[in-house]
């Protein structure tokens, strides 16, 4: 039954890829279509208020600058709100202002689409902050990722000097994609019992006479965009394992599909832009192969149970239930864990810290690769970066100039790709090492032995991959962790965005080379295998040693 229900979810995803991918193509191809009538009036009001009269195409530099400045403005406004939230409306539970390093961490975390949470939603944020900062950034950071993907796709599939207009793309990503989808998913979630209220915490007198305070709030509207935007920051501290955020298996399936559909469908959008649908399926295929490998490992490892507990004479048939919810069981938990770290969402429906060692290797490994579907937009761009690297490696082997989609890949592009690829391990491994060297870092480790290494490694990997899930046992709300992970999230997000938009900017200006019989094809099964191999080899070379010290050592010593 476990495998069957997993397969059903995978099939549902497959059914979503084509319609959603085509829709996104129509939104961003900027050719007139039927939906214009519905959305254009709203968009014109937004352009009017913002004073955006000139909406012509931008060079990659102007595009990137606009993106970064917009993000900076949102960071500043959001930071101010968090620091004075006590004085603002919608604070029925009397929550205090947030302290500076935690506010810094929180605001960076949400703007970079990471959603690492060093606060607990029930006690750290007012309803107003949950809305005006958290929900708002869940939209804007997802839209930022999506427009990066669109600009990058335009760069490698079209000819000219511009990547499109940032503001137009950014507005459309909201009005035509995220907002309508979010409202629909919110209402479905409420119909399945997720609360959506401004009422304060309720005092219940339980059946056996205790007092239970039940926190609630506008949960559904946050949970929907949390997944659609591959954000992952929960309304409550325990995220989507909380029965209010994820009350039953159906909401679980909806949340899985919500966070998965945009990254998966963007491969189809890419195929449409490239006027070669096979090219899109190659990317989707490579992502899926990697995904299935990781999913199998997670499902297998969790089904086996924890040897340390099995040794006490407990029946292992149920699998490892520590940190998991009964309504999800092993199948829905393993699938959720694999999807949330593939799509770098970071929402969790079970506690990753309590996963079996090999089960915990899965989220860690996927965040290290950071391109198995990946977050909204950036995942596709990361995989295309590996695709460029793949043709480059093949070009070196056979001794010819590498080409991708009819353009030569030259020194400038490869340098930028190299920066993006190397930055990722650098900002994971160096801070991890620093944390182990200092008492400030070591003091927060709560699990002894090899698992402690995994805890620290997970925190920085999650920050660098802009995932945001955690081995939550880590006592991470200290200035050391707030500032270090804040910086890692910043670098993890913007270094690769800038470098890869730079690649797009130079690709868009290149001469197209006509396809000949000697052209190395990038739209077939052979290339899919090369792509998977490239991702694996780069990932293994970089991260295998540290994985051996953490989860693998824990697995080998656990009995």
């Amino acid at each position: 039954m476990g495998i069957l229900q997993i397969a059903a979810v995978l099939i549902l995803l497959l059914l979503l890829v084509k319609p959603l991918g085509s829709y996104m193509y129509h939104v961003f191809s900027n050719q007139p279509n039927r939906t214009d009538k519905l959305f254009t009036p709203f968009e014109n009001v937004i352009y009017g208020i913002a004073g955006l009269k000139n909406r012509s195409g931008m060079s990659w530099k102007k595009y990137t600058l606009s993106l970064i400045l917009t993000n900076i403005v949102l960071v500043v406004l959001g930071y101010i709100i968090l620091r004075v939230q006590k004085l603002l409306p919608l604070n029925p539970n009397g929550i205090d202002n947030m302290e500076p390093t935690l506010s810094f961490n929180t605001i960076i975390s949400f703007m970079t689409n990471t959603n690492l949470q060093h606060y607990s939603g029930e006690s750290g944020l007012t309803y107003f902050s949950q809305m005006a900062v958290i929900m708002m950034m869940m939209f804007t950071s997802a839209a930022t990722g999506i427009v990066v993907a669109i600009a990058f796709i335009r760069g490698i599939t079209s000819k000219g000097n511009t990547l499109g207009n940032f503001f137009v793309d950014f507005v459309k990503a909201h009005t035509r994609l995220l907002l309508p989808l979010a409202v629909v998913v919110t209402l479905i979630l409420v119909a399945l019992q997720v609360p959506q209220t401004f009422g304060a915490t309720v005092q219940a007198t339980t059946l056996q006479g205790d007092v239970q305070s039940i926190a609630r709030g506008p949960v559904a509207s946050l949970v929907s965009i949390k997944h659609l935007g591959t954000n992952g920051g929960g309304f409550f501290g325990v995220n989507s394992s909380h029965p209010f955020e994820n009350p039953n298996p159906l909401t679980n399936v909806i949340e899985i599909l919500s966070m998965w559909c945009i990254p998966a469908a963007l491969t189809y959008t890419f195929g449409k832009f490239a006027r070669n649908q096979k090219q899109g399926w190659v990317i989707f295929g490579a992502m899926s192969m990697l995904f299935l490998m990781f999913l199998s490992l997670a499902y297998y490892a969790e089904s086996q149970g924890n040897p340390a507990i099995n040794a006490l004479g407990i029946d292992a048939a149920q699998g490892s239930m520590e940190g998991k919810e009964v309504r999800f069981g092993i199948a829905q938990s393993a699938l959720f864990t694999t999807v949330t770290t593939a799509a770098t969402t970071g929402t969790v429906n079970n506690m990753h810290d309590t996963l079996t060692p090999l089960g915990g290797l899965v989220p860690l490994g996927q965040m290290m690769l950071n391109c198995v579907f990946g977050g909204d937009g950036v995942g596709l761009v990361n995989m295309l970066m590996y695709a460029i690297l793949g043709v480059f490696l093949c070009g070196l082997m056979v001794g010819r100039t590498p080409e991708f989609l009819g353009r030569k890949i030259e020194a400038r592009e490869m340098k930028l790709v190299a920066i993006a690829i190397l930055a990722h391990p650098f900002i994971i491994l160096v801070p991890t090492a620093i944390a182990f060297l200092t008492d400030l870092g070591r003091g927060s480790i709560t699990n002894p032995g090899y698992h402690g290494i995994s805890q620290v490694l997970y925190e920085f990997t999650s920050s660098a991959a802009n995932n945001g899930s955690g081995f939550e046992g880590l006592a991470d709300n200290t200035p050391f962790w707030n500032i270090s992970t804040g910086l890692v999230m910043l670098f993890g997000r913007y270094i690769s965005i800038i470098a890869l938009l730079g690649v797009a900017g130079s690709m868009v200006k290149k001469q197209w080379i006509p396809e000949t019989i000697g052209t190395f094809r990038t739209d077939n099964a052979l290339y899919t295998a090369i792509l998977v191999g490239t991702v694996f080899i780069i990932g293994a070379l970089t991260f295998l040693p540290v994985l051996v010290l953490g989860p693998i050592a824990e697995h080998l010593t656990l009995r």
Binding site: M1, Q5, I46, I49, A50, G51, K53, T70, V73, L74, E122, S123, M135, M136, F139, F167, H174, L179, V183, T186, V190, A191, P195, Q196, T197, A204, L207, D210, Q212, I214, R216, P218, A220, F236, V238, H242, P243, F244, P249, V253, G305, I309, I314, D315, Q318, E322, G323, E325, V326, M351, T354, L355, P357, N447, P448, Y450, H451, E472, T557, L558
Partner: protein, 201 residues
């Protein structure tokens, strides 16, 4: 509202536009969106939107059917281990890694407690979900197996025949959603409400 006419916007008005966009999106995504959602949800499905609360005959709130409660009284079916004692204003769990000795210690304690209050059921029949901490610390469910193994104890303490308890456990067992997704489960609070009903009879 607009004052730019030049084809290429100048520096200051470009920056000003971005600030306006920032404020606009805070209002649009951060205020209008959740208000519209709340309005629609409260209008269409008020009870779910409020939190699916269960009330007693006098209208007092007993709890939410979605949120687990602490049951220490051995007359009641007991739920899963919760490191936060089912405090629903601060969710969380121990987050013990699989190799953490504290985890083994805690499980051993749970097993010992189990043996003391359920001498008739051997440890090998004890389902894993009863001795492990749920992810949220608020898990409202246990597996049907976990309910069944508690029947001998509850029957002995309450005097309700085991066959009757079997029946209410079966009544309160929810299957997989759509017959496919998730796992079969029993809501502990609803089950205990049924036990209370039987006690009254």
């Amino acid at each position: 509202m607009t004052n730019e006419t030049a084809a290429d916007v100048s520096g200051s008005s470009y920056l000003f536009s971005i600030v306006r966009i920032g404020i606009l999106f805070i209002i649009m995504c951060g205020i209008i969106y959740p208000l519209v959602c709340t309005g629609l949800a409260q209008l269409l499905m008020p009870s779910y939107a409020e939190g699916s609360f269960i009330k007693n005959t006098e209208g007092g709130i007993i709890g939410s059917e979605l949120i687990g409660q602490k049951f220490t009284d051995p007359h009641y079916f007991q739920g899963r281990v919760s490191s936060i004692e089912y405090a629903a204003d601060a969710s969380g769990s121990n987050n013990y890694g699989p190799s953490n000795p504290e985890l083994v210690k805690r499980v051993q304690q749970s097993v010992a407690d189990w043996q003391k209050s359920n001498p008739d059921v051997p440890v090998s029949e004890l389902p894993a979900d009863l001795i492990t901490n749920s992810g949220s610390g608020l898990d409202p469910h246990i597996t049907p197996d976990s309910a069944e193994v508690q029947i001998p104890r509850i029957s002995k303490l309450t005097g309700i025949p085991a066959a009757e308890l079997d029946k209410i456990v079966a009544q309160h067992t929810e299957g997989r959603s759509l017959g496919l997704f998730g796992e079969p489960r029993v809501n502990v609070l609803k089950l205990n409400l049924a036990v209370d009903e039987m006690m009254k009879k």
